[in-house]
Symmetry: C2
Subunit: 155 residues, 2 copies
């Protein structure tokens, strides 16, 4: 991943892709997040997790989502900030201690706003992968993106 | 909120509602989460946030989601664990320092599995409210819920 300058609506096109850096999960991170936000045994205790739905310690889906956000913000910085309006999220597989995660993003749609000429809505498909190349999270997200400000001379 | 026993598929019906306890957000929590998962200035710095999209310090949407998960798990514990397959999430309004949040949940649909007779898929509408009664997060989520095990005598 190369560091890129913050992006305006004019910098984006449908089909454009961004690949994030990586984040390595471990059991301590999984348990710390779970203790605060999702205190269920399969996120907190290796032994108890073995007989659970997940068959072993697994991260909260919201932990995977939070890590994916970090990777996304770094890979595709939007001028003025990455502001999501929401979207659809699925977790086809759990994430595990030791997983090195990365995110691949693709611009699906760009809709300039009719009512607010300085911005538009961009739909992204952000996929989070584990080291086996399996998708552990799919997020189709809508994001507010601003147009590049006109310079006074150009006005 | 009264503490309830873990729920099986048979314990649920369409229209059933659950109300969570509360969680009070503060600036320190907002910044700590953002530093780890969503390091953008409007989540990290009160002064810089004033001129941002949010007009002041606001929590990451993923922070609101994580807090909402905690409140949901405590309000509606599912036997074997609250395992989400995914869903649609939107953040109509940001959450702010001082906000006392709570979650109201409603069972929208119950679909017994055709292929796996021991479980079903339950669709929930989970709304997170701020103290003004405004919805700050709407999540329509699908969740795996198990049937109550048959006792050997009944088999």
């Amino acid at each position: 991943m190369t560091k890129i300058a913050p992006l305006y609506l004019e910098d984006l096109h449908v089909g454009q892709r961004f690949t994030s850096g990586t984040h390595q999960l471990d059991a301590a991170q999984i348990k710390a997040f779970a203790a605060q936000f999702d205190p269920q045994t399969f996120h907190l205790d290796e032994e108890a997790a073995k007989t659970s739905f997940f068959g072993g310690l697994a991260a909260s889906g919201w932990h995977t989502a939070a890590i994916s956000m970090r990777l996304f913000v770094e890979a595709m910085p939007i001028a003025g900030g990455n502001v999501g309006a929401g979207g659809e999220i699925t977790w086809p597989l759990p994430t595990r201690p030791g997983d090195v995660l990365h995110v691949e993003c693709e611009v699906l749609e760009i809709k300039p706003s009719q009512s607010r000429p300085t911005r538009g809505m961009v739909t992204m498909r952000n996929q989070t992968f584990n080291p086996q190349g399996e998708i552990v999270q799919l997020m189709v997200a809508k994001m507010v993106v601003h147009r590049r400000p006109q310079s006074p001379a150009a006005g």
